[in-house]
């Protein structure tokens, strides 16, 4: 149902883009995909994605949702979001090169320019991580 390419939805670019595809949006919930590639910037020597990379992937998933909603409102550019706060991040399992990360993000609240988001990431049947974050959305230029 999503008709946009990922780079039409988020401002991040290689080598720091950490979402491949926005799969689905249902109201305030989005599902994204990301395949961990060997050239990812946040991999350790054993090919394990650092927790920071998982957090960035969830943040960019929230950015893809924000970008989608902005496009659907007819905006020609997408907003830039900055992480304001992370709470209750839990790492359950690590993600490695080749893993397909599937993330669900849900907008819980919006206060002015601040968006509160819950996110959870799985790789096949392994839960990778979950968190809550506040993202500051910088208005469209």
């Amino acid at each position: 149902m999503n008709k946009y390419e990922i780079e039409q939805l988020i401002p991040q670019r290689a080598p720091f883009r950490m979402v491949d595809e926005l799969l689905n949006v249902d109201g305030e919930t989005a599902v994204t995909l990301f395949v961990v590639q060997p050239d990812n910037y946040l991999l350790d020597s054993e090919g394990v994605l650092a927790e920071a990379g998982v957090i960035e992937h969830i943040a960019q998933s929230a950015s893809a949702l924000a970008g989608y909603l902005s496009r659907e409102h007819g905006n020609s550019s997408v907003p830039v979001g900055y992480i304001g706060e992370i709470r209750n991040f839990r790492s359950y399992s690590s993600a490695c090169v080749g893993d397909v990360m599937r993330t669900t993000v849900t907008r819980e609240d919006v206060f002015g320019d601040i968006v509160c988001v819950n996110g959870e990431t799985w790789a096949s049947d392994r839960r990778i991580a979950e968190l809550q974050m506040k993202i500051y959305i910088s208005p469209n230029d």
């Binding site: 830039v80 706060e85 992370i86 709470r87 991040f89 790492s91």
Partner: protein, 121 residues
């Protein structure tokens, strides 16, 4: 260390058993800024989390994983043009599962990041 000498360089460090203060230079030519964001180089918050983890690894002398983050606040926008050098202050407290880590990234009176989490060996 994923980001040392790519994203930051350690200029100076002082450590004791529980605390370390690291003086870092943020490297403006780091590749990350090509994508975050094109024409608008801003430090990704998560790179500061990884930097804190790497400082905690130096302080403890152990390879650590971030098991949980109770809270991490990003209080001001950071970029090599805004803060070419920063201080990372890291405190570790040994617990059964690993280390409770509290950290702050700041420059003079300005605080950029405050972190509270649990890292495991």
């Amino acid at each position: 260390m994923l980001l040392e000498n790519k994203y930051y360089q350690i200029k100076e460090m002082k450590m004791n058993q529980q605390e370390g203060i690291f003086r870092l230079r943020l490297l403006p030519d780091c590749d990350i800024y090509r994508g975050h964001f094109p024409g608008n180089p801003v430090c990704p918050g998560v790179c500061h989390i990884e930097t804190i983890k790497e400082c905690a690894m130096r302080l403890t002398g152990k390879k650590l994983s971030i098991a949980s983050v109770k809270q991490c606040r990003f209080l001001a926008m950071a970029a090599p043009s805004i803060c070419p050098e920063v201080n990372v202050t890291v405190g570790v407290c040994p617990v059964e599962e690993g280390f409770k880590v509290t950290a702050r990234i700041s420059e003079e009176a300005k605080v950029y990041v405050e972190f509270k989490g649990l890292m495991t060996v």
